[in-house]
């Protein structure tokens, strides 16, 4: 049995060592894979905050991922075509600056999360799952018909956006950006879990009635968690778009919402590094098994069934010897 801390440290070490090794041996594709894993991990860390801490089974987190993606797509498109973005009341310039794109992605995802959260949190259980799913589908079909930005075909951005002082076209540098963001968000997530808000949110999940009788509002706590969660997944969407230099409606697909939930279950619900481990395993399997067979999802399915049946705490729970429960 490994203590959870050491397991986490091991994962971080791997996420530093593997890309550096790949850089030394010039295996650029490995770096791209690692970047993909880190960004997907970030998207799942976002969901884990709602799911693990708040108990909110959102099946629509692709909404925020897509909003982040289209924020990058639309802003960069207007910058690369030197056209202004007409917002009705006023027009704005596009931008190729990552920090600005991230900020806009976070703000837009948060705003949408407030609306979706307020409507969805009136329900619970299966209805909550369904209503969040429905919002994702709404955006999916909207972008398919959004001809100005490529509709179904999506939108290509020719040059990766910039970050002051770095050359983002160098794979390891872009990887570095994504890795640092993931680490920063994990750090904040760990702090949040132990904060007054984290304690109250934990209680709101486990015993909403008690939470009310000490004078706190479980719904409001969950709403705030949902918004933070959406903002993180939105940021991941912006990075993902920049990795591929491409956005399309598939970023809003319900399959993606399911995929990041799968990372969490695989790694361990409510575990700080659960989504990270899940995403790394997923990307690795997708790559190696995907080369051997088109039906690699079947193997993934088998692993998932085993995890759900025999290791409720996911891989983190299995390895750290603490089956159930949270941090």
């Amino acid at each position: 049995m490994i203590q959870e801390r050491y397991l986490n440290a091991l994962v971080l070490f791997g996420l530093i060592a593997v890309p550096l090794y790949a850089m030394a041996t010039e295996e650029l594709f490995t770096i791209t894979l690692a970047t993909r894993a880190v960004i997907l991990a970030l998207a799942a860390v976002g969901l884990n905050l709602a799911l693990g801490l708040g108990g909110l089974v959102s099946f629509g987190h692709a909404t925020f991922f897509g909003i982040g993606g289209y924020t990058m797509g639309v802003l960069a498109y207007h910058a690369q075509t030197y056209t202004a973005l007409d917002l009705g009341l006023f027009t704005i310039e596009g931008t190729k600056s990552m920090p600005i794109i991230w900020l806009v992605a976070i703000i837009l995802s948060s705003l949408v999360a407030v609306v979706i959260g307020m409507l969805s949190l009136r329900t619970s259980g299966v209805y909550f799952i369904m209503i969040t799913l429905a919002f994702g589908q709404m955006f999916f079909f909207f972008t398919i018909s959004w001809a100005a930005y490529g509709g179904e075909d999506g939108l290509s951005i020719y040059v990766r956006n910039g970050f002051p002082g770095l050359n983002t076209l160098v794979p390891i540098q872009f990887y570095g950006i994504c890795f640092v963001i993931l680490c920063a968000v994990l750090f904040l997530n760990a702090r949040l879990a132990k904060s007054p808000f984290g304690l109250a949110l934990n209680a709101a999940r486990q015993t909403p009635m008690r939470t009310q009788t000490v004078g706190l509002d479980p719904t409001r706590l969950k709403l705030v968690a949902f918004v933070i969660s959406g903002a993180i997944t939105g940021l991941a969407g912006a990075l993902f778009a920049d990795l591929n230099r491409f956005v399309s409606p598939t970023m809003f697909s319900w399959q993606f919402s399911g995929e990041i939930m799968l990372f969490i279950i695989l790694g361990g619900v409510g575990r700080l590094f659960g989504p990270v481990i899940g995403a790394v395993i997923f990307v690795t399997l997708e790559h190696f098994l995907g080369e051997i067979t088109d039906f690699w999802h079947i193997y993934l399915g088998v692993i998932l069934v085993i995890i759900v049946l025999f290791a409720r705490g996911g891989i983190v729970g299995l390895l750290s010897g603490r089956g159930g429960g949270h941090d």
Partner: protein, 249 residues
């Protein structure tokens, strides 16, 4: 009349054809323990839920310190000084004993919108929580996970969480349930002292505890309060003996 800490007027609640509360007038005076007794399913917990705000009455009003709170949320009533314990423990089972008590302290006195500072480094909250745990004899178990507690310890934690609120009125739903003889005796002594801090509405099946503690007793049968009086009055009330005490007297 206005110095009543808690009062219900004509509280009525039906579940389908079942009248769980039938025009209940109840009141609680400063410094007293007013017990509600009655057979299983009489509607005791239902009455408490309407007082705490978890259920809305079909008719009637609830007053806290003279203010009509019938339309207020559970949260607002908690903030107005109502400290409630549950018949079936409502605790965060995955959390430690201390975390559960800190939750109460946080709800009563802290701001929950703090996202980065560890809550257990807030000395004021922790002190308040530990004081409450100490009073019910749970301080030594503070780092235990609540799921690992014995049934009796969970009952104590229920009371401790209510204590952290420093309420103006306690509403307790069977705090002795399943405590055992010795546990009941300890809890009885504790509640005896507690009434000077805030009056207690005590729902309890343990008759020894009720007779030892209560300043007044009300008897609830099929949703109706059939009698209210002192211990001696209730003991000698024929209707009560027939309806309720008769079973074991």
């Amino acid at each position: 009349m206005t110095d009543l800490v808690l009062e219900t007027r004509g509280i009525t609640k039906s579940f389908g054809a079942l009248k769980a509360s039938d025009s209940i007038d109840f009141d609680l005076r400063p410094g007293e323990i007013h017990a509600i007794i009655g057979p299983n399913g009489a509607g005791k917990s239902t009455l408490i839920k309407q007082i705490s705000g978890e259920l809305r009455p079909d008719a009637g009003q609830v007053f806290l310190a003279g203010t009509d709170v019938t339309q207020q949320t559970t949260r607002a009533r908690a903030r107005a000084g109502l400290g409630r314990t549950f018949q079936i423990s409502e605790l965060a089972m995955e959390d430690t004993v201390l975390q559960n008590a800190v939750l109460g302290a946080l709800g009563a006195s802290g701001s929950v919108w703090r996202f980065l500072k560890p809550v257990l480094s807030d000395a004021e909250l922790v002190t308040r929580a530990e004081e409450a745990l100490d009073r019910v004899g749970l301080l030594d178990a503070r780092n235990q996970r609540t799921a690992e507690l014995s049934h009796g310890q969970r009952r104590q934690l229920e009371v401790a969480v209510a204590l952290t609120l420093r309420p103006k009125v306690f509403v307790m739903d069977e705090p002795m349930a399943g405590l055992g003889a010795e546990g009941s005796l300890t809890m009885t002594r504790f509640l005896d002292g507690l009434r000077s801090e805030a009056p207690i509405l005590l729902v309890e099946h343990d008759m020894d505890a009720v007779f030892a503690l209560a300043d007044r007793i009300s008897v609830l049968v099929y949703g109706r309060l059939i009698a209210t009086g002192t211990v001696d009055e209730i003991r000698s009330n024929a209707e009560v003996r027939e309806a309720y005490l008769g079973e074991d007297a």
